[in-house]
């Protein structure tokens, strides 16, 4: 089984990068699960997000980036704000997919508190419905590199 996986990695010819370090915590704020599937795939063998130094952490308490999917439903807003409050500073917020950016799903206005920038400061935007694994990796790398050096987590 392991040799077969090694073959996948050789076959896609992933480029190795100098490591940085950036811990990401995802909060699903009402997504269709598409962004979650694609984020998991971004960490899988074909894309290997870890090679850029990104790690998905279990807790917002040691996350550099809060990655938010979904249109921010009213029922997820308190949990989203609690996750943000639990993060150490400096902290960044990234919008994953069209929904937190105000597009994507056409939800009932009574049930959503979004778009995301209405409730939290957004530093990085990764559009797509859902963004592909390649777009997620690229969006995180380019988005972080575009920040002023003092705001980058490395």
């Amino acid at each position: 089984m392991l040799t077969r996986l090694a073959r996948v990695r050789r076959a896609v010819g992933l480029e190795r990068r100098p490591p940085a370090s950036c811990a990401i915590r995802l909060v699903d704020a009402g997504s269709c699960n598409g962004c979650e599937h694609e984020l998991v795939a971004t960490g899988g063998p074909h894309h290997d997000l870890q090679r850029y130094g990104f790690a998905i952490t279990a807790s917002p308490r040691h996350a550099d980036v809060l990655l938010v999917s979904g249109p921010v439903t009213t029922r997820m807003l308190p949990a989203l704000l609690r996750a943000y409050a639990a993060m150490p500073e400096p902290r960044l917020v990234a919008a994953l997919g069209d929904c937190p950016l105000g597009g994507g799903v056409d939800a009932h206005p009574d049930e959503v508190a979004g778009p995301l920038e209405r409730v939290l400061p957004v530093d990085i935007r990764i559009p797509g419905c859902p963004p592909t694994p390649g777009q997620i990796a690229e969006g995180l790398r380019v988005g972080l590199a575009a920040l002023p050096p003092e705001r980058r987590p490395w």
């Binding site: 009402g30 699960n33 063998p45 439903t73 029922r75 997820m76 949990a79 996750a83 994507g104 419905c129």
Partner: protein, 463 residues
């Protein structure tokens, strides 16, 4: 066209008890009175309705697994189900725990609240575990954190516009939900899709099943910490999704099935390349599955926990692979006149013990079956019907399709070309109550594994 029959409160319980009910939902009747509608499955699905004057209607929870349906209807339509006491909130999230959770008392009983934000990259939902030590006495699942009001937002629109709103209910069941909605709408308007469209829709549903089942096996391996299995099945899922993108332009096949259209033929060479790649994926999955079969740590962890046997399947209204894993050979594909399943027979896994291991095995046998259907449908050119106007009309329609998680039932009411009510009861919706029960048949640390063995969507429950 699915007719609707309105019965009096006195006959309601008796008629429902004798029917094959595939879900309940509330709606507003023609004279403005709220009513409860039951979908009666069968050769021609029908609707049975009872008026709820003053918002009160007799409960059905003692007759059939309709607990969540009634709780949802109570929250969203303000109905009171006489005999369903106490009502516990489902869609609404009151602060007071007594208003939504079951009280569990006794010496050493304590609660473990988990979520809505979880440690992994998964959807949002809350579980309240009542435990003594590691033994789980009861689980209250509090979902609907992702409620986006999509049904209510779709209502009052044209069938096409309502379909666009519903197209983002759930990524994992995007095709199944779209097919069920299209079938319900076409049923309401008295249309029947041609063979070409039926074949294309069936192809896309089975492709969706392939990537979902590969994903689920990967997730079960993740649940026991078996990284090689997790990653290998993730690569196989990726390969299927790449074919989905080639065929429909989208990795999750969003917007591929609409009322007006379905993807056309990619050409002989491209279609043959897709067929060969999917056959190779199926062969690789079968080889990998044999490897996993002899992984003793995986067998140890998956054999036993979360058992839902055939009696529990019937009592809880379980559908899909979870029902078949308990030896109940029920599958809505055996009776699918609006799709293309000639000679289809439901399959149960070799050891249908109803535990995590059986649900894992169910995925393997269904993968092989789906790959066979996909291979056959890709062997001939795809010729969907020419796009047609939906037209205006009035009627009730029911559409049923088998999602990777089980029977999905969509009900549509159209009046004068406008969608008045649309309700989507997915396989996940039917099965969530069983996950809570299965959680009591495992120790607390095994709940994530039990949960992954069902791998239900939160998005298409919450809507």
């Amino acid at each position: 066209m699915a007719g609707i029959e309105r019965v009096g409160a006195d006959a309601w319980r008796d008629r429902v008890a004798r029917g094959n009910v595939a879900g309940l939902h509330a709606a507003i009747g023609p004279d403005g009175t709220p009513e409860v509608r039951a979908v009666l499955a069968g050769e021609t699905p029908r609707l049975l309705a009872v008026a709820a004057p003053g918002g009160v209607v007799p409960t059905l929870v003692d007759l059939l697994p309709a607990g969540w349906d009634e709780r949802e209807a109570a929250d969203l339509y303000g109905l009171r189900f006489e005999g369903h006491d106490p009502h516990r909130a489902l869609v609404h999230h009151p602060d007071d725990r007594d208003l939504w959770a079951t009280p569990v008392v006794g010496s050493d009983v304590h609660t473990v609240p988990v979520g809505p934000v979880h440690a992994g990259v998964i959807e949002s939902g809350h579980f309240l575990f009542h435990v003594v030590g590691e033994r789980v006495l009861h689980v209250d699942a509090r979902l609907f954190h992702k409620h986006r009001g999509l049904e209510r937002h779709a209502e009052g629109r044209s069938p096409e516009d309502a379909g666009r709103v519903l197209s983002r209910v759930c990524a994992g069941c995007a095709v199944t939900n779209a097919v069920a909605y299209a079938a319900a709408t076409e049923d309401a308007l008295g249309r029947v899709p041609g063979e070409g469209t039926r074949r294309v829709r069936t192809l896309l549903i089975e492709l969706e099943r392939m990537w979902n089942h590969l994903n689920d096996v990967s997730q079960i391996c993740a649940g026991v910490g078996l990284a090689p299995g997790t990653m290998l099945f993730a690569t196989l899922k990726e390969r299927v999704q790449r074919v989905c993108a080639l065929l429909t332009g989208h990795r999750f096949m969003f917007d591929a099935v609409t009322l007006a259209s379905a993807p056309g033929d990619p050409g002989d060479a491209a279609r043959e390349a897709m067929r060969a790649e999917l056959a190779a994926v199926a062969a690789d999955a079968a080889t990998a599955a044999r490897g996993l079969l002899f992984d003793t740590s995986l067998r140890d962890r998956t054999s036993g926990p979360g058992r839902i046997d055939a009696d529990a399947v019937r009592e809880l209204g379980v559908v899909g692979p979870a029902a078949r894993a308990a030896g109940v050979a029920a599958d809505s594909r055996t009776d699918a006149p609006r799709l293309w399943y000639p000679g289809f027979a439901a399959v149960v896994p070799p050891t249908p013990a109803g535990d995590v291991a059986a649900r894992l095995e169910a995925r393997w046998v269904e993968l092989e079956q789906a790959a066979g259907i996909v291979g056959e449908l890709l062997s001939a050119p795809l010729r969907p019907d020419a796009p047609a106007d939906t037209g205006t009309g009035t009627g009730h329609g029911v559409g049923i399709a088998e999602s990777p998680r089980g029977r999905t039932v969509c009900t549509v009411e159209i009046r004068g070309g406008t969608v008045r009510r649309v309700h989507l009861r997915t396989g996940s919706y039917a099965n969530w109550p069983a996950v809570a029960v299965a959680g009591t048949r495992a120790i607390l640390p095994d709940f994530p594994l039990v949960n992954k063995s069902f791998e239900l969507c939160y998005a298409c429950v919450d809507r």
